[in-house]
């Protein structure tokens, strides 16, 4: 149907960095510190490091899988159909579509919840929701290049606006909190690693965007770069939180990242976390649009539904869900369900397919998509 060959639809490999970075660093950056340090305390950074290495392994496996496909079939949908047969493959693909959509919705719901609690408790959320939806429609309907473009800004917004904010926090840090190192058992560290790895579920997006990358096979350095950048930002935020809060205090802080930022004040702007949250909109929109794009695109490949129709459908579905999932308890439940499902759907799926692809032929001729 479409061949991702023409220049208009392809991306240069560096864009993969932004796409993947945005998918790896999601809304969880606001509160992961609490979960990760719950069982392993000051040793949490080891867990983040271990989880990052695990994701690097996952990315390596995905490249392994993709490199064994004939170029037009090197994507999530065709891989599933090739290895699992038409019926099971189709079912799996629908699962992944739902999963991408679910991830996007979870991010949206979480972000709006933070806005509601932190900035505008008395605001009617619908105007903001409509506004974000218009932005999402605009981005995703623009195709992969527009999505990559907003991912670029999403990445930059973090590095430009969040990183410099670490400096004014320095006087409030207690570096001694980091010692003694390795004061926790392997089981505790494993628990934290597992919780941390759940932040990286977005890595599967690589399988969906891969055909659109020029010289896909040689793009791996950008993917590893994205994993490295994500690991860096997570470790940095974790270290900040560990040194800024006392251990018990961190357990009681809902959004540690925002609380850390709230200590900063600059002339004319007394509450910097408000600015950060607004900058975060860009980050969230890019994260959500990657998920939406992956879902709509996979749906097009599997069921031949036109992306703009599926996109509109998805957004309407979001509106309804948004109305149904309203209180913080529900949001927490759908997030935790999303993450638990993801462990199987992503972290078990990738190795299994990797092994299967290892033992079947070098390049399968894709029987579909033509």
């Amino acid at each position: 149907m479409d061949s991702p060959k023409s220049d208009k639809f392809t991306l240069s490999p560096i864009h993969l960095f932004f796409l993947l970075y945005v998918s790896l660093v999601g809304a969880g950056l606001m509160d992961f510190q609490r979960y990760v340090s719950a069982s392993s305390g000051q040793d949490g950074w080891i867990a983040v490091l271990a989880a990052s290495l695990f994701v690097v392994l996952m990315i390596w496996m995905m490249y392994g899988i993709l490199s064994r496909q004939a170029p037009p079939g090197a994507n999530l949908v065709d891989v599933n159909r090739r290895y699992f047969g038409k019926a099971i493959g189709a079912a799996l693909n629908v699962c992944f579509v739902v999963y991408f959509l679910w991830g996007a919705f979870v991010t949206l719901r979480f972000y709006l919840q933070v806005i509601e609690v932190w900035i505008f408790p008395e605001m009617n959320q619908w105007p903001l929701v409509i506004c974000i939806f218009a932005l999402l429609y605009y981005t995703v309907s623009g195709g992969i290049q527009t999505v990559a473009g907003i991912c670029f800004w999403g990445t930059l917004s973090i590095f430009l606006f969040v990183l410099p904010q670490c400096l004014p926090v320095l006087p409030y840090l207690h570096p001694h909190n980091m010692t003694p190192v390795l004061d926790h058992s392997a089981a505790e560290l494993f628990d934290s690693t597992r919780l941390m790895a759940r932040q990286f579920l977005g890595c599967l997006v690589l399988m969906a965007v891969f055909p659109y990358i020029k010289e896909g096979g040689r793009s791996s350095k950008w993917s590893y770069g994205a994993a490295g950048a994500a690991a860096f930002i997570y470790i940095l935020m974790l270290l900040l939180a560990l040194m800024y809060f006392s251990p018990q205090q961190l357990k009681e802080t809902v959004w540690p990242t925002l609380s850390v930022v709230s200590i900063i004040h600059v002339p004319l702007m007394q509450r910097l976390e408000y600015v950060v949250l607004n900058m975060w909109l860009l980050k969230m929109v890019s994260n959500i649009s990657v998920g939406l794009w992956a879902a709509c695109h996979s749906l097009k490949q599997q069921l031949r539904i036109r992306p703009r129709i599926s996109l509109a459908g998805a957004l309407i579905g979001f509106l309804i869900l948004f109305y149904l999932v309203d209180d913080p308890g529900d949001t927490r439940r759908i997030i935790s369900l999303y993450m638990k499902t993801g462990e199987y759907l992503v972290f078990a799926y990738i190795p299994i397919v990797f092994v299967i692809s290892r033992f079947s032929g070098k390049t399968g001729t894709s029987q579909v998509g033509k």
Binding site: V117, L128, I130, C131, G142, H176, T179, Y244, S246, I263
Partner: protein
């Protein structure tokens, strides 16, 4: 086909901009709200008195201080109660100072700390203090200053340039939630001229005031708990003959270093404080004419500070409070730290203070 798609996108972009422009709706203008800057809690027989200092910005370049107070049965409904008596809505997003009357603080400030830490409107930089009189009186004592943040500025500048170790809300919550130290807050007294002044530091056990550190102890607390570059100390020298000779020192830099000698059941800690000081003023009878006399004076200052610090630590141990954070120190230097066991042994903990003093000569020879 393409044209229609572009039109849709253009309309979407336009709609987006319109909505974004409409978003700037929730602005609040300073003379239409009651902007709270300082708040206070007091305890009177059986009820809680809450009070607020509100700036009135009706005239240009002028601030009128308005003091509000209200009785309540509890600590939780301060803002709604006080809102009943204002003509403008109360906004406390700019609250930067919270004051507790001593009798209130003796019954525990835990509830208020909980309220403050839960409310994202409250700034992390808000300062807290305990007042010897009621909080209301302390605020009243500052009402002729035209500064609704007088107390906050007083504490802030003393932290920056003098002996106090001031802490903002975040730092206090750090200590309050932490298991290895106790909190302390600036202690505000009213002097004979009916002005509010800094009278020391209120030491807390959990969330209750148990004692007040005064005068030099305030400086010792600061020097023992952080690196600092400011502070002044009045040293009483041994009288030789007539009047009592005094020596006023300015601390130019000071750096405490803790060493865990043994963690044991009863811990033992060695504390070294390296100080550089300068003589600001000195009684006429004391002479520093040569190196030997300067060295002798260094030794005198060293002994004076060592005794002062040891006495202060012993006082804290006696009260079973740990404002210096010995617990946190041991926690981060030994595996498997147990807060309960540590504070069980705390009163008998051995400490050894060693101060090294470097005397920087001022311009003239005394």
């Amino acid at each position: 086909m393409r044209g229609r798609r572009n039109t849709v996108r253009r309309v979407a972009a336009l709609g987006l901009l319109t909505l974004a422009a409409g978003g700037c709706g929730s602005s609040q203008i300073v003379d239409r709200i009651a902007l709270v800057q300082t708040a206070g809690y007091d305890r009177a027989e059986g009820h809680i008195v809450t009070s607020l200092q509100v700036g009135e910005y009706t005239d240009k370049d002028k601030t009128k201080i308005k003091l509000l107070e209200s009785d309540s049965t509890n600590s939780f409904d301060m803002m709604p109660q006080l809102n009943l008596e204002t003509n403008k809505p109360i906004e406390y997003g700019q609250m930067k100072m919270m004051l507790f009357g001593r009798s209130y603080a003796e019954h525990g400030i835990g509830d208020v700390l909980k309220i403050l830490s839960r409310d994202v409107k409250v700034q992390s930089r808000c300062l807290l203090a305990v007042s010897e009189t009621t909080a209301l009186e302390a605020m009243r004592a500052t009402s002729n200053t035209d500064d609704t943040l007088f107390l906050m500025n007083m504490i802030w500048q003393n932290t920056k340039t003098a002996n106090l170790k001031g802490q903002n809300l975040q730092q206090i919550l750090y200590g309050y939630h932490g298991t290895g130290s106790d909190i302390f807050l600036p202690y505000i007294t009213i002097n004979k001229q009916h002005r509010a002044q800094l009278g020391g530091v209120a030491l807390f056990k959990d969330d209750r005031v148990v004692a007040v550190a005064r005068e030099a102890e305030v400086l010792y607390l600061k020097l023992l708990s952080e690196r600092s570059r400011e502070g002044s100390l009045l040293v009483k020298l041994r009288a030789s003959g007539g009047s009592q000779p005094y020596l006023l020192l300015r601390v130019l830099s000071s750096h405490p270093k803790f060493k865990l000698v043994s963690a044991g059941p009863v811990p033992s800690i060695r504390i070294r404080v390296a100080m550089t000081v300068m003589i600001k003023s000195i009684s006429e009878t004391v002479k520093i004419e040569n190196e030997a006399e300067a060295k002798r004076l260094e030794r005198v200052i060293k002994r004076y500070v060592e005794t002062g610090m040891s006495d202060f630590i012993a006082k804290c141990q006696g009260l079973r409070v740990d404002p210096i954070g010995f617990g946190d120190f041991v926690r981060t230097h030994r595996r498997g730290w147990d807060s309960v066991a540590f504070y069980e042994a705390y009163p008998s903990m051995k400490t050894e203070v060693r101060v090294s003093v470097k005397l920087l000569q001022s311009g003239i020879i005394d």
